[in-house]
């Protein structure tokens, strides 16, 4: 332990560019000694980015603690002052929650983290044989049967997480006239357990997959290409192929944002600077997620390796 701490101290000194050994002290002279609390949600990528932030802050001498909390409940907790930092709020799923939180003025959007969030309908590659024409969405119009299950036949079965993550899939199915039924998977763990089961047997499956995540790197497959999303598609029925209905397009993809409590700027200016500056490269994050989830490496090791490589930047 002691060697590691020493290394960290040295690292900090290195960053500060040849300042005397006591340099970190003045940096936090007028800063709060309270613990900085970082939220952990339920996906590995977020655990990695959170721990990277945590380690960078610890290296600067801050006290850091982690708490587990549901994704969207986190912003409420941050407004109440229970959480200091959240590393990943996806424009794709938390758009409304972020808007609501911005309105309270108790939280601050620190800008994008770096990786591009992508989420869409996804299928394993072997389904291309059973449904020629994929990844174009028009192929699905004729493939209901190929993706069907007893309870949905003759329509196809699409597994999503509508209830907890949103996404307007039932509306999309109706607007595009797809012969599919959206089935709610309940949890991600259950959904990917079924994907694993189907993949092992080369059985038909169509489901919701997002990235950064381990699924695209473990299973071979592709995202369905729907008409490109535009804000007007969700609000204006006239937009797109179906002149009577909205949602006749794919899902939005976009940035992942960092959030902190509005107090942070004053309370821990040094930590605020690190959080504001924090950037993680998308492919690099995907690789780390795979190392943890698929190769079974301990998260701490993967994070430590990243921090050693990148701490010079902060």
């Amino acid at each position: 332990m002691r060697v590691q701490s020493l290394l960290k101290t040295l690292a900090v000194c290195g960053v500060l560019g040849g300042l005397p050994a006591l340099a970190p002290a003045p940096a936090r002279a007028d800063e709060s000694k309270d613990t900085i609390i970082i939220a952990l949600h339920d996906w590995t990528g977020q655990h990695i980015t959170s721990h990277i932030t945590g380690e960078l802050l610890k290296a600067k001498g801050y006290k850091v603690d982690y708490v587990t909390i549901d994704y969207l409940t986190g912003l409420t907790a941050m407004e109440n002052g229970d959480i200091t930092f959240m590393s990943e709020l996806w424009a794709t799923t938390a758009g409304d929650a972020m808007k609501a939180s911005d309105a309270t003025g108790k939280t601050e959007n620190l800008g994008p983290l770096g990786p591009a969030a992508k989420e869409e309908w996804w299928y394993p590659l072997y389904m291309k044989e059973k449904c020629p024409g994929l990844p174009d969405w028009k192929a699905l119009l004729k493939c209901g049967e190929a993706f069907s299950a007893p309870e949905t036949a003759p329509k196809g079965r699409y597994l999503g997480m509508e209830a907890t993550w949103g996404g307007h899939d039932p509306e999309r199915i109706e607007a595009l006239g797809l012969p599919f039924v959206a089935v709610d998977a309940g949890t991600e763990a259950a959904m990917f357990a079924e994907l694993k089961s189907a993949y092992e047997r080369k059985a038909p499956i169509l489901l919701w997959v997002y990235s950064p995540h381990w699924v695209p790197s473990v299973f071979e497959g592709e995202w369905v290409q729907f008409p490109e999303y535009e804000a007007a598609c969700y609000t204006d029925p006239k937009w797109g192929i179906n002149p009577d209905k909205a949602f006749d397009c794919g899902k939005p993809h976009g940035e992942i944002f960092k959030y902190t409590s509005a107090e942070t700027k004053k309370k821990w200016p040094g930590a605020y600077a690190v959080m504001k500056k924090l950037k993680v490269d998308g492919p690099e994050l995907n690789l780390m997620v795979k190392e943890v989830d698929v190769d079974g490496k301990p998260l701490d090791e993967v994070v430590a390796a990243y921090v050693t490589k990148h701490k010079g930047e902060y």
Partner: protein, 663 residues
């Protein structure tokens, strides 16, 4: 309905045939909406304009409570934060002892007092188990904690254990105090019992969001949720135990000149000791049941490990290992506390030996911990000594999946097409007025007008709160699961009551099923039965059949030997004796088991929504992810009402049955 209403009619032969009237009204309420959908459409599907926005009211109330409520000097939020602060400090003590140790000062290389050494703790647990229950318990304690150590679960298990300790202590102390209060002040007893009913039937998930609102996230709110869930049995046991203390003892205390306070603490409470310890045991088990749920609002520990592992690509083995650590912790603590209940005071050399063993355990614990100043490996076992099943479990499940999926899929399709879908369609299409009438008619037959009115109010909550579809899905899923669980549980319990070996095997199976976090076996179930109602059904049945087995076994074992002999003397064959003597005698007990099955099935609802059902549990799950406390609470209330409804109806049935048998 007419069969149920009949006996009542016979009971009052002189009066107007009320039973027939009730039966006719029920039939009318059910059939009319089908016969004349045009005129009685309002009685079939509940009109949207009649829905009372209960969840919006609850939400507004909670927002007000969390943001604006004030007592003048301080706000409600200040108060809840203060309470959670107290618990936070209480948690620091066992956390420092078991999990983090104490580091003096913030600087690097500061003086560090190690946590209790794993070697010391395992040795102490073994010695104390021996003291409590002999060699067998000692072995169990050693294996249980040893498993946690070598499978690398120690750090998380100690985080969990420290929370368990605080939660159990607070639950026990709080439970005893409330129990005494209710015993001393009979006026509030009714209110306390009603509150307990509520606390036990509202699913814990429903109050997670309000808790996050009021006390924030983290180990403390996880612990508070646990205490809320685990304390009610302690209150009940205290109340019952104090009532059971013979009045002579109370009089004796007063005659010897005790003040009321002395009489309570020096006479009544000590003489209720055994019963109170049973309550402690219950609190421990319920606390361990909550580990996973508490982890969802930041409790960490083993619960977090289970949830996290199951999301990973090959996490099944990891999740199972962490889940089994929960089982190990639960079984060791349960057996130790049970042995404590059964321990009798001894005197002379035996007592001295007990004292010696106790001190020996303590000395070993402190000795190893002191040693770990010098040997850090005694504080934290180095990684290379740990073992893991690795991908074995994932591979096993994959093999089953590839080779047996065809069979399971056939079962699934059959269940869906011929049982689940028809029942679900029927129930969701059932007229709401008819449902209220059916419940009312049944309740009337069991307990008269007042009872019927109460029960009808409970069931009417579902349509009135706008929860019809999810509520009926709940009823459909629960009732089918309860039937299947009972059909499996009864024969197993019967076998258990016939042979000691089977009894022991079933006991171990039930313990594991109840303490293993259901999440762990949910995933293999999903791989075999896919997402949807069938998986949920399997998961609910696995969890809920436990009381059916236990109560049947217990009920049949309690049939007095004299009765069995009487049966044999009257010339019964074995089967006849079972069906004509033993089963009827044990029926009340078995029905209590069924009652528990229903409660367990209801408590599994939220977990079943994790595999894609659309029931009231789903409503709560959605509420959690949208941070909408009103939505969650209203669904929680609906589940609680269903539970209370079933409990009261079965309670009446059992009481009537017992009375008829002259018990």
């Amino acid at each position: 309905m007419s069969e149920v209403a009949l006996p009542r009619e016979e009971a009052h032969p002189r009066r107007f045939p009320v039973g027939w009237m009730v039966a006719a009204l029920v039939a009318l309420a059910v059939l009319l909406p089908y016969a004349a959908p045009g005129m009685f459409g309002w009685a079939k599907s509940y009109p949207a304009t009649w829905i009372v926005p209960i969840s919006d009211w609850l939400k507004a109330f909670l927002y007000w409570l969390a943001r604006d409520a004030t007592f003048g000097l301080f706000t409600f939020k200040d108060m809840t934060r203060f309470v959670s602060g107290l618990f936070g400090h209480a948690l620091d003590v066992p956390k420092a002892l078991l999990s983090t140790g104490i580091t003096l000062g913030d600087e690097d290389g500061a003086f560090h007092i190690p946590r209790l050494s794993w070697a010391g703790l395992i040795a102490a647990v073994t010695i104390w188990s021996y003291l409590l229950g002999g060699a067998r318990l000692a072995l169990l304690g050693f294996v249980g904690f040893g498993y946690i150590l070598v499978f690398g679960q120690w750090d998380s298990a100690m985080v969990t254990l420290s929370q368990v300790i605080v939660a159990v202590l607070s639950g026990v102390v709080g439970g005893i105090l409330i129990g005494i209060l209710a015993y001393r002040v009979p006026r509030i007893e009714g209110a306390v019992v009603a509150a307990l009913d509520f606390m036990q039937t509202v699913p814990t998930f429903a109050y997670l969001v309000p808790l996050v609102f009021l006390v924030g996230v983290g180990p403390v709110s996880g612990m508070l949720a646990t205490i809320l869930y685990a304390m009610p049995p302690m209150v009940r046991v205290t109340l019952m135990a104090l009532k059971r203390v013979p009045p002579e003892l109370d009089e004796l205390a007063r005659m010897t000149g005790c003040e009321p306070r002395q009489a309570l603490w020096k006479v009544l409470v000590p003489s209720a000791r055994d019963d109170l310890l049973v309550g402690v045991n219950q609190v421990i088990m319920l606390t361990l049941n909550m580990i996973i749920i508490a982890a969802m609002i930041g409790a960490g520990g083993l619960g977090f490990d289970v949830l996290n592992a199951l999301r990973q690509a090959n996490g099944l083995g990891k999740g199972l290992e962490a889940g089994l650590a929960v089982v190990a912790l639960a079984i060791v603590l349960d057996r130790m506390s049970r042995a404590l209940v059964e321990m009798r005071p001894v005197h002379g050399p035996a007592a001295q030996r007990r004292r010696q063993l106790f001190w020996l355990g303590l000395v070993v614990l402190i000795g190893f911990t002191a040693l770990s100043f010098v040997v850090p490996a005694l504080e934290k076992l180095p990684n290379e000594y740990r073992i893991s099943t690795g991908n074995m479990w994932s591979d096993v499940v994959s093999w089953v999946n590839i080779n047996m999926f065809a069979t399971t899929d056939a079962i699934r399709t059959f269940l869906l097409l011929y049982l689940l879908v028809p029942v679900k369609t029927f129930l969701i299409g059932f007229p709401w007025l008819g449902l209220v009438a059916v419940v009312g008619g049944g309740a009337y037959a069991l307990g008269g007008w007042r009872f019927a009115l109460g029960m009808m109010a409970l069931i009417a909550f579902i349509p009135v709160a706008g929860l019809w579809e999810r509520g009926m899905t709940t009823i459909y899923l629960c009732s089918i699961s309860v039937v299947i669980a009972t059909l499996i549980g009864l024969p197993l319990g019967l076998l258990g009551s016939r042979s000691e070996r089977m009894h022991a095997f079933l006991g171990a199976m039930c313990d594991t099923l109840q303490t293993l976090p259901s999440f762990v076996y949910l995933l293999p179930v999903v791989m075999l039965f896919r997402i949807g109602d069938v998986s949920a059904l399997v998961a609910i049945v696995l969890y809920a059949m436990v009381p059916a087995i236990r109560f049947t076994d217990h009920g049949l074992r309690r049939v007095p030997p004299s009765l069995q002999e009487a049966g044999t003397m009257a010339g019964c064959t074995g089967t006849q004796r079972l069906t004509k003597v033993e089963l009827p005698y044990a029926l009340p007990e078995i029905m209590l088991g069924v009652n528990q099955v229903i409660m367990m099935a209801l408590s599994m609802l939220v977990v079943s929504s994790f595999v894609g059902t659309n029931d009231l549990g789903k409503q709560i799950q959605v509420a959690i992810s949208q941070a909408d406390p009103g939505k969650g609470l209203s669904a929680g209330l609906a589940i609680a009402f269903l539970g209370i409804l079933a409990d009261r109806m079965i309670g009446r049935f059992v009481a009537a049955r017992r009375q008829r048998m002259g018990l």
